[in-house]
Symmetry: C2
Subunit: 362 residues, 2 copies
């Protein structure tokens, strides 16, 4: 099935560049998201790269500047597999757009979040072989996909600190859920930066540069920054606002569907909760009475600090219209803010307000 | 000046055990809190220990079980100095008590937070010398102060993971702000666990045990856990609720004083903001119109990831009664929740709702 075929289980926000998220039910009740349901976030055309011709250059502030083939990566470094959730910084933007319109930005629901088991090699091992210089403090990733949305148009890029890059969890991955990466998810090799916004997990990576400053690529220096509500995004330049990296605690209700007509009585509710860095999910509360009382959901399997927790519970649905609310607490006891009203920002990032969904009974 | 002398700049919640916080103005506009303004949180009588007789035993799952004097610590390991904020898990509990009473717990304001420059040796270095076994996963701290508040009464204790203990920032400190630790702050040596609730920074430490499980001390296993709102704290046992460790983003308004009568017009507002782990403070917003508009405060000096940021701004105070609101964002773009109503919990921990303060004009 092609990406652009009509599919009822994917919401296509944009065909070119391809931006799509699964419907919430496609994410429910499973740790790993199937490849053809995994959200796609792109800023330019999807490159199709011959894996035999692909090379990864390491350069910048390092003793060695290796030029690695896919076979080199596979044979020179130990293989590593890790379950990690990717979440777009614009996940749940639709809730912010309800507060005030955000022109030109896709109205992502909670499906700009997906989880896979990634296989590749540790970026730390590759960098260790290159030998970072003392002055190296950041690691920049470059890709070949040219984005016309950047100012000026340029290939996609991003960076993370060297400390994060060598912490052990960052991968150069060629497989997800045991299958080779498809082109739309970064074949032949992409970066996976667990716990950080998806924008740092650069697809089709072809160059890794050790440097003493963050990437000055548009998507690092200007986009993916949280601006204050009153800022004019068209006037915002490099370095304005807060650079997004680690992800704040968030959650979503995935089942039942929003607007469902259901029977009065016990009703299963399910969703996901996720927190960035190495913070885990400690608790998920669900309310059907506007937050007057809460019940704790059961948390699904724990696949480690880089993966979401699926959760589920049963609530007794009263007659009439009901708003179901969910909120998660991470292991630093941080709770989600109540309302998107005070989280509104001109680019529509980081809506981590309480998850809310309306159902009615017949 | 003795601890129990009447002092207008300290709020004594309890004389025995000694529990006191500085008035907000005593914390304002300076990175380091003077020793005699630093908050004191105790669970038993304050031991007075002869530094020449003091010994630190390292035991449990380690190759060596050294017994170290203060001179041993000073001579065998490199000296390390670090600026770190300590924050009590009950900081700002008063805001939760306004929602619903919390019997038997002190109504801490925002002053259960203070910052010092700590000098000592890295716990990582001391543990490295002892040689942790493969099975070691937690590091337990034991102190001599017997608490009658524990069930059953017992000496104070706590633990952190081995990963945190060897990360580099955890100190065994004998000095704060360049002066020897006073008895009330843990002389001759205390643990400093930057980024975690103050309860883990065990004072008067005399034993460090490497083990495969967290401490089963009352103050680790039962107290300092976030229970759901409906739980009965008297019925809560070991392991119930969420263990508190890393601190969620929080802030306070320190100047002007709550209830001040001020002139209409430009008024200086100052406070602190703090986030745990190695998260920094990215932004502080201040509002004088119930959150309809916000202005960004200027952040004071950055003393690294373990210290608070002081902040200040000037707002134009209208005539009449005004509620001033502050909220901080940490570097993971986590914002403080709006209201304490939904953060209420039976032990009164982790009130990190927006800081609010009322003033009026004459």
């Amino acid at each position: 099935m092609g990406l652009w075929d009509k599919r009822e289980d994917m919401i296509i926000h944009e065909a070119d560049p391809y931006n799509a998220e699964p419907v919430p039910s496609a994410l429910a009740d499973r740790m790993l998201t199937p490849l053809d349901s995994f959200y796609g976030r792109n800023h330019g055309p999807i490159p199709v790269i011959d894996p035999r011709a692909w090379r990864l250059r390491i350069d910048g502030l390092a003793e060695q500047h290796p030029d690695l083939s896919l076979d080199d990566l596979r044979s020179q470094f130990p293989r590593q597999t890790l379950t990690a959730t990717l979440q777009c910084a614009g996940n749940r933007r639709a809730g912010l757009i309800e507060v005030r319109d955000i022109p030109g930005e896709a109205p992502w629901g909670p499906g700009a979040t997906s989880t896979a088991q990634w296989t590749g090699v540790s970026l730390a091992a590759v960098l260790r072989a290159a030998g970072p210089s003392e002055e190296a403090a950041h690691v920049a990733f470059s890709a070949p996909d040219i984005s016309q949305l950047a100012d000026p148009p340029q290939a996609y890029g991003a960076s993370i600190t060297l400390a994060k890059a060598i912490a052990g969890e960052v991968l150069l991955a060629w497989a997800m859920n045991g299958q080779p990466l498809p082109p739309v998810h970064g074949a032949p090799v992409r970066v996976i930066v667990p716990g950080y916004i998806g924008a740092r997990s650069v697809k089709w990576v072809e160059r890794i540069t050790l440097q003493d400053h963050p990437s000055d690529n548009y998507f690092q220096a200007t986009a993916y920054r949280l601006l204050p509500a009153e800022a004019d995004p068209a006037a915002a330049g490099p370095g304005d606002g807060l650079s997004l990296g680690a992800i704040a605690v968030n959650s979503a209700i995935l089942r039942p569907a929003s607007g469902s007509v259901l029977a009065v009585g016990p009703t299963g509710i399910a969703g996901y909760a996720f927190a960035g860095d190495d913070r885990g999910i400690a608790r998920v509360d669900v309310s059907a009475d506007a937050g007057q009382t809460w019940q704790q959901a059961s948390l699904g399997p724990d696949a480690g600090p880089w993966a979401w927790r699926q959760w589920q519970t049963t609530i007794d649905l009263p007659a009439g219209d009901t708003e179901i609310i969910a909120r998660a607490w991470d292991t630093s006891a941080a709770a989600q803010p109540e309302s998107p009203a005070h989280l509104w920002n001109p680019k529509g990032y980081v809506n981590n307000s309480w998850a809310r969904l309306h159902v009615t009974t017949r």
